[in-house]
């Protein structure tokens, strides 16, 4: 087992810093539960460290890292049957490919989402961000915002849809 020599560790850190969010998003597309996706990301990260000497500088680190992540998702699928991974292998592959094709658009959407979050009223923003904090869930969001659990489910559905539409609108308005 070989690991990145110390002199390439800085390069590895920089590449991971730049791409970490996107690799996580890639995994989450295939494994929608955050905790499961984080486990897989961690396994993938170990392999990325381990195999970093195979990575050719100047090539696309994100694509290379996603290949490793993809195999980790496949391995998880075999290991845990369907409990973590949503789709069968065939569908998983077409989704992974669709995601890679859409990367430039998804990058834009990520940026636009920040602006759309600022447009929400404070209560909605608090609710959605509480729901998405690490380790939190709908119950926590409901309690934080003084809603019933059922009300929180409805509110989160509405807020997500609002954000989805807002981001689409932002992107459309940026188009020439």
């Amino acid at each position: 087992m070989e690991y990145a020599p110390q002199d390439r560790s800085t390069e590895l850190v920089q590449l991971m810093m730049k791409n970490q969010r996107k690799i996580f998003a890639y995994v989450l597309t295939l494994v929608p539960t955050r905790a499961d996706a984080e486990d897989i990301l961690q396994e993938a990260s170990l392999t990325i460290c381990e195999k970093f000497s195979d990575f050719s500088p100047g090539t696309n680190f994100y694509s290379w890292a996603c290949q490793i992540a993809y195999w980790k998702v496949r391995a998880a699928r075999k290991k845990y049957a369907t409990s973590k991974v949503l789709f069968n292998e065939e569908v998983m592959e077409v989704i992974a490919n669709t995601r890679l094709e859409m990367e430039p658009e998804l990058d834009h959407r990520h940026g636009a989402l920040n602006a759309c979050l600022q447009k929400l009223n404070e209560r909605d923003r608090r609710m959605i961000l509480t729901r998405y904090e690490s380790g939190q869930n709908v119950k926590a969001a409901a309690l934080a915002c003084g809603r019933t659990i059922q009300g929180a489910y409805k509110a989160l559905t509405r807020i997500r849809k609002t954000l989805f539409d807002c981001v689409s609108l932002e992107l459309a308005s940026e188009m020439p």
């Binding site: 810093m17 381990e50 989402l113 998405y132 904090e133 690490s134 915002c145």
Partner: protein, 564 residues
């Protein structure tokens, strides 16, 4: 192309997928749709990417809150890393950690894990061993009923960063999150010393640790040895006679110590195993206890439950206050619509004429989830109110959270300076609570010692000022404690005619066009003089959560009582 119905169904499935609420049958239908339709596939990818981005922004927002709450006492470089670099550090450091662990075979595994992390890490800007005394190494994140021991020097408040040193807990449970990632709950009575970002010593009491992979190597020193975590949940208890117990709920830990004859005692424990170490360091097997340790989830639930209980008690008290004979004006800020521009007076005295008119301010959350508050951010933000009768005795009370003091200080309530007894109640730029009163043609000013120090910015505080025109005293109170009394010169009455809440009016030495920068979520005026005991009770009922250490506790009632 998807029909409207198909799109609606798709979004419904996606939402329920994200909340782990999708049946197997629906999963199958979603899979089929995504496989067949490129449009559905793109929507799926876009929606799941939104899901990932929201996690990212939520963590970023949480990181900023922690960063803000640590204010200027923190090591800015280290905390600034947290939202972005800590997960990254997990990836890289953990990878290198394994490298270190495996490359040298079993011999290297005998080295302390913390050392191997520190040595191999290039992601941290400073070695983990060189901890400065003022460096933040953990954050105080949750509490239930915390009471610090008598004489304890460290009395952190909720959200504070913690430095190396002793924590002495008389009662309650405190959750600490170490910067390396371990979460620890200490149940009082307990004494623990925080050593660095991944190490503590338990001298007495009970501790439960949850250690994610990133923090493997988290170490807790016990009287006769140390427990080194190997990725796990574990519990510890140290008794007054020096004996201790180690319980492993998940994963494994290594206990390494010596007995009193100098013999090495080493045990590796896995899930479901427990040992007892007598005061001489000798170990013996122990049965696992049945769920008597508090976990993070339980603590979080109890913490929320606790805040709901507090809110309910406060609501009960609101009703009592509203019926209080001397209540002239009472804004509870509760149960108001988010679009409402009228601040309801809860007393029945004015028939609506004492309701406030909200100008500019926005509704936000108050001391508890679901409680309303008004936020003042713009210079014209204010609430217009009117109390036409002058009062020769009064108590002004407010719960306030300041975002900053501002160059001119923070106005609480100011009346039109045309009338005799016109009042200005504010915190001045140096943090003193000030009551200005118009007496004849001049203005008298009664100010406290510095009450509002920097650490109170961003926290809810209870302010009260009493005016006794008969006995000629003004008293200032913070968090239910009196810390200033002054003899009145000439003023006989106090008037709130044409008043503004949260905004200056041009009394002496105050600018007209400035508002408070922060939130108010309760305000009342009584036509009687409340004593310290009554105000303390009001504060106790209204404070946001158990375990808050208000400034009142740090400021003993040093000033002479009335009439002395």
């Amino acid at each position: 192309m998807l029909s409207e119905d198909q799109r609606a169904l798709l979004f419904d499935w996606l939402d329920r997928l994200l909340e782990n609420n999708l049946s197997q049958k629906e999963k199958g239908r979603l899979e089929a749709l995504v496989k067949e339709s490129e449009e559905a596939r793109k929507i799926y990818v876009t929606y799941l990417d939104l899901h990932a981005s929201l996690s990212h922004y939520a963590d970023e927002s949480l990181g900023s809150e922690i960063e803000e709450s640590l204010s200027d006492r923190r090591d800015s470089r280290m905390i600034g890393f947290l939202p972005v670099l800590l997960p990254l550090a997990a990836l890289v450091v953990f990878g290198f950690y394994l490298f270190q662990s495996f490359k040298g075979g079993d011999d290297t595994r005998e080295e302390p894990y913390v050392d191997s992390l520190a040595d191999s890490s290039t992601a941290y800007e400073q070695p983990m061993q060189s901890i400065e005394p003022d460096q933040v190494i953990a954050v105080f994140t949750k509490s239930v009923g915390v009471q610090w021991a008598q004489g304890a020097t460290a009395r952190p408040e909720f959200g504070n960063g913690l430095h190396p040193g002793m924590l002495r807990l008389a009662a309650g449970a405190a959750q600490l999150e170490f910067l390396q990632g371990a979460t620890v709950i200490i149940e009082g009575p307990a004494e623990a010393e925080l050593i660095n970002e991944n190490e503590a010593s338990l001298k007495l009491g009970r501790l439960r640790a949850h250690v994610p992979k990133i923090a493997i190597g988290f170490t807790v020193n016990l009287p006769m040895g140390q427990v080194v975590d190997l990725g796990t949940d574990f519990g510890l208890e140290v008794y007054e006679n020096g004996s201790s117990e180690v319980y492993v709920y998940r994963g494994s830990v290594r206990y390494q110590g010596v007995d009193n004859e100098g013999n090495e005692v080493a045990r590796e424990l896995t899930a479901g195993q427990a040992i007892r170490l007598d005061p001489h360091g000798v170990s013996s097997p122990l049965d696992m206890p049945a769920g008597n340790y508090m976990g993070s989830a339980e603590l979080a639930d109890r913490s929320l439950e606790n805040s709901q209980t507090r809110r309910n008690a406060w609501l009960q008290n609101c009703k009592i206050l509203a019926r209080e004979e001397s209540a002239e004006l009472y804004y509870s800020f509760d149960d108001q619509d988010s679009w409402s521009r009228v601040l309801r007076d809860e007393t029945s005295k004015g028939n609506g004429s004492r309701d406030g008119a909200v100008i500019g301010c926005s509704w936000t959350e108050g001391r508890w989830p679901g409680k309303g508050a008004l936020r003042f951010t713009q210079k014209n933000d204010r609430v217009c109110l009117n109390l036409s009768e002058p009062l020769n005795k009064a108590t002004l009370v407010a719960w306030v959270r300041l975002d900053s003091l501002g160059e001119e200080g923070a106005p609480l309530v100011f009346s039109k300076p045309l009338f005799n007894g016109a009042v200005g109640w504010s915190i001045n730029p140096t943090g003193k609570l000030v009551l200005q009163i118009k007496a004849g043609q001049s203005f008298e000013q009664y100010e406290s010692a510095v009450a509002f120090r920097k650490e109170k910015i961003g926290k809810w505080v209870h302010l009260a000022t009493t005016f006794d025109g008969d006995r000629k005293w003004v008293g200032h109170f913070l968090n239910g404690r009196c810390f200033s009394r002054e003899k009145i010169d000439r003023a006989k009455v106090l008037s709130l005619r044409k008043g503004l809440l949260g905004h200056f009016q041009s009394l002496a030495k105050s600018k007209e066009e400035e508002s408070l920068l922060g939130c108010i979520d309760e305000f009342a005026i009584f036509s009687s003089v409340w004593d310290e005991l009554q105000l303390r009770k009001l504060y106790e009922i209204g404070r946001p959560r158990d375990g808050d250490v208000g400034i009142g506790e740090a400021f003993p009632s040093a000033l002479p009582a009335l009439g002395r």
